[in-house]
Symmetry: C2
Subunit: 258 residues, 2 copies
Amino acid sequence: MKTLKVIKIGGNIIDDEQVLNHFLERFSKIEGPKILVHGGGKLATKLANKMGVEVKMTNGRRITDADTLDIITMVYAGKINKNIIAKLQTKQCNAIGFSGADGNTIVSERRPIKDVDFGFVGDVLKVNTNTLEVLLNAGVTPVFCAITHDENGQLLNTNADTIASELAIGFANIFKTELYYCFEKNGVLQNVSDDNSVIEHINSENYKALINDGIIADGMLPKLNNCFHAINHNVDKVCIGKPEMLFKSNIKYTTIQG
Amino acid sequence: MKTLKVIKIGGNIIDDEQVLNHFLERFSKIEGPKILVHGGGKLATKLANKMGVEVKMTNGRRITDADTLDIITMVYAGKINKNIIAKLQTKQCNAIGFSGADGNTIVSERRPIKDVDFGFVGDVLKVNTNTLEVLLNAGVTPVFCAITHDENGQLLNTNADTIASELAIGFANIFKTELYYCFEKNGVLQNVSDDNSVIEHINSENYKALINDGIIADGMLPKLNNCFHAINHNVDKVCIGKPEMLFKSNIKYTTIQG
């Protein structure tokens, strides 16, 4: 069985052209089938400001109204995705950009309204691997932006971490799948201000303790939920850390264990 | 040999959601391999106005500066393309959006500066059919926006008519290819104000006379040059008219003959 690497990058890589270029240079050299998933970075907020579209929040969480969805579609699927694709093509990496609507690859449902109406935000229901598998076997690298669709014509803003974990899970019976969350820290840290305090292994046992002790909190909680969701659904390896974890052998990072 | 239909639609279809929906409904029912190519319509200009990006013209022709290229990439490859894809998926048409950078499908060069520097505008050099052929044979419908790349990381704004003709030519040795330019008129008209005065056949002979008589002029000249370029490079059928020419048998339209 071949190994498929699903790699998610966030704003710290996307927002800096030099950093992005350096990452893509190394990404392009990864052998075997691979999928890149990117978030949106600060560009969407910048465009919203330029266009006078207000960033709407409820209980501290962002709401995706119709104007915001338009902006996200333009920035994520348009500007960021196409520029990544053009850059990868210069590095002999034959990439094709995807939203979940393309090839009907990722189907989601609009998040049900409980306390908060998040607007056009999608929770993933299903990954269709067949078209992607044809492309991966033809040596093509799919590059996903954080947009899915509901099969009724509605695009939906979808968490990029979730897209990455669902893709890895979707392929787990076809490939040996590995999921890498690249971000600005060396991994999950024991002490948030000490980048050397990497917790190298997290399993369901010490996870609870880390939450209880407040070491894993806020934005790290949904990320780790995605990690456990993947490792509990046959993904072979789930890692969090700096992109260097993909390219160097002497780098510390966090590995999630079931 | 299977028949591949390459169909280009313009602003008159894209700018009106009902018209677009009706077109996509019928497009999705076309059997056999097909490729859709879309221009940008009025949305790019609207976004430029909202963002305060000036539309720059030289000698009456639009210049694509860096800001304009960003807008075009966001609107064409983002908003318009992804909404078309999401709509086609509701109609059991498994579509994937493409710029020329995706799959390295269309390579262009920045238009050389003679009298005018058109900015980031590309003239097509090469179409790579292999990845597209894999997808077409898997029943996938590629949907192209009017953006290409130069293989050096630069996206380039490229005429949608040209993209359609170059795709048709590129596939002419793999499929029997047919090229359809859909626009707001019934075809090339003898009398521009009479939609019933369709010139049903244009060949290289009467073409010259039609130019000399001023019947073919302005924007129709490059469109017809694309038509002749295609028919002279092994494209089997080249037609100009309303979209109905694709779906009804009793409709007049213009056919280009070599």
